[in-house]
């Protein structure tokens, strides 16, 4: 491993983002269940469930499709991402959850929360298990 190359490229990324007002980067989100089937989900950033619903931050709703989001890191080096499972009928969410509990209770699957950093891999991939007893 060329550590100099790694350090240089990561430093360049940080410098470029530092030159702008707010560091930001595109990430691709996707989710499956434990049987490796696409799982419809709502992607929530920093617990902002209202914005997530308004901006249609869904994956795998109409088809097996991921979601690309440009995430800003204004104050913290990390952004908290919640992958909240939802139920879908006729290519539309039957109900958009407003909390992790609501997502779990209504979908029958367990949500996952992950801290994402600016220099993390581009793809943010979730594997959601079924809720106990489902």
């Amino acid at each position: 491993m060329n550590s100099l190359l790694r350090t240089t490229s990561l430093s360049a990324l940080l410098c470029l983002t530092a030159c702008g007002s707010i560091p930001s980067r595109e990430f691709e989100f996707d989710a499956i269940d434990v049987s490796e089937n696409p799982r419809p989900c709502l992607v929530v950033l920093n617990d902002d469930w209202t914005s997530a619903a308004e901006k249609n931050q869904f994956v795998n709703v109409t088809d097996d499709n991921s979601l690309v989001l440009k995430i800003e890191f204004p104050k913290s080096p990390e952004v908290e991402v919640t992958c909240a499972p939802i139920q879908v009928a006729d290519g539309k969410p039957t109900r958009v959850p407003k909390s992790r509990k609501e997502a779990r209770d209504y979908s029958g699957f367990v949500d996952e929360v992950r801290k994402v950093q600016l220099t993390d891999p581009r793809k943010v991939f979730f594997i959601l298990p079924k809720k106990a007893g489902s």
Binding site: M1, R6, L10, V34, E36, T119, K123, F125, P129
Partner: protein, 103 residues
């Protein structure tokens, strides 16, 4: 005067060394999972299922790498690997192994 046989072979040897250097941008570690039938994903990409296999952990484009494993009868597993962690695993001869818990 250099040996003519050496002069003939030098470009081949130099090319081989160059290609080896270009392909070594990462740390190879054996990745295994228990149960062996579980599927393994690295940075969200499926790398296989079944027996242990070597994987190149390349930190040139990210500061940490995540490994996931899933099986229909088990809880999925997730683990982050930083450069320091992989280097420590190489030093101690530790493999990347994910063990899934029954549901």
């Amino acid at each position: 005067m250099a040996d003519p046989r050496f002069l003939r072979r030098f470009p081949i040897v130099a090319s081989a060394l160059f290609l080896t250097a270009c392909g070594s941008s990462g740390y190879s570690r054996i990745v295994s999972v228990n149960p062996a039938e579980a599927s393994v994903y690295v940075n969200g990409e499926r790398i296989g299922q079944g027996s242990p296999r070597p994987h190149n952990f390349d930190f040139s484009e990210c500061s940490r790498i995540y490994v996931q494993a899933t099986h229909p009868d088990y809880m999925p597993e997730f683990e982050w690997f930083t450069l320091d962690k992989i280097q420590e695993m190489i030093r101690t001869g530790t493999e990347v192994k994910l063990t899934l818990r029954s549901r």
